[in-house]
Symmetry: none
Subunit: 233 residues, 2 copies
């Protein structure tokens, strides 16, 4: 399970460095190139998961390269370009690019867009469906809770919604209103009670001591807070 490989093709060394640093910090492997020629040579032996390509290259027309990469080879290509006209973006995308980022860009956004592409295009490396916390492992893909001994307990869809909400916002207050909205609950009259019951059932499955809940704590008059050290993946 190696980290995804992102290639950078840009003739400006400063930009290559900036992107390399941001992407590596985000946990990706990177390879960077200043010329299309080198890049194409490297493609012989490696298959990048995402290719970042600058359109203005010294030795080759970027768009042609994008077209070959994206449509003929099926690669995932994000164009990074100084050409900001709508027409440029449209033709870039029509030619097969998956995304089009305009210079000057913010590294954080590039990382986010790379992640977005990987999420959809490489379901093999899907990792966002389990979470660990305080000895438990929650498998949202099979609706299972596993304790430290490996014993399994099934949880239902409704319970999973609540659990997921907690695991996504650990150690933060979650108000009831907040919860209703997140769980698509119609702001119905007696929905409060339903919410209570869901949480109660979830607590049972987490084997919480009613007198002294360690994970799901109630803040009287305000909402709930999930204590627990959550690690996703």
């Amino acid at each position: 399970m190696t980290a995804p490989l992102v290639t950078i093709l840009d003739d400006e060394p400063a930009i290559r460095e900036m992107l390399t640093e941001a992407l590596q910090e985000a946990g990706f492997r990177t390879m960077s190139f200043g010329r299309a020629r080198e890049f194409e040579a490297a493609l012989q032996s490696t298959a990048p998961d995402v290719c970042l390509v600058d359109l203005s290259l010294p030795d080759k027309d970027g768009l042609t390269l994008v077209h070959r990469l994206a449509l003929e080879q099926g690669a995932t290509v994000i164009i990074i370009s100084g050409r900001a006209q709508v027409q440029d973006r449209v033709t870039g995308l029509e030619l097969g690019a998956d995304d089009y980022i305009i210079k000057p860009f913010e590294p954080a956004e590039v990382v986010a867009r790379v992640r977005a592409r990987l999420r959809k295009n490489a379901p093999a490396s899907q990792a966002g469906e389990t979470a660990q916390f305080n000895g438990w492992t929650a498998h949202f893909d099979r609706y299972m809770l596993v304790d430290e001994h490996g014993d399994e307990t099934a949880f239902s869809h409704a319970e999973g919604e609540v659990l997921r909400l907690f695991l996504e916002r650990p150690k933060r207050l979650i108000s009831r209103a907040n919860m209703q909205e997140s769980l698509g609950g119609a702001a119905g009259e007696s929905f409060d009670r339903a919410m209570d019951v869901r949480i109660s059932r979830l607590r049972t499955k987490l084997r919480e001591d009613p007198k002294n809940p360690r994970l799901i704590k109630t803040i009287y008059g305000a909402g709930y807070i999930f204590l627990g050290d959550v690690i996703w993946g």
Copy 2:
């Protein structure tokens, strides 16, 4: 082979019209909504290929909606927002959106980005005759399921219809209504049960553990979802 369906969720009628016109001219089917509530209601019976979502909605937090749509239902979501800060874009993308377009936008670019998403994310176009998933190989030309050891199990036409539907929309919620529509089932009263039985039989052939199905998951009150990494070809 119907045209892809694009939904538009925006509270400004002018924008809805603009997008509807541009998308229809580009050959897409469209549905537009002014409120999250209506949109969610419509999702019960249809599965859009791409969802355009404005973040500033009157009745609901857009980001929450995006998150549910994108990560839990596996839908393809493009955010359209007036919030132009890098931080907004990054969080939008991190929450599961596939793209983020800033208002004011050019309709042509929206169309191009919708096309880019469809090109990669809609494997419907790759409709081959075999598909692989989690150790299984489905041969639709021979009506055969082959496991990792090469053992074969025949499946019937009706079972194949359901299986194909699942394999074409992996990791996405498929509602019952949706299924009936796709499988040409008249919206008959008792057709629901027939659907159940089909799925039950398919599950048996896939050797699913009834207590803990790994591939075909039921979501109470909503529909089914097929987990599994599908590769067509």
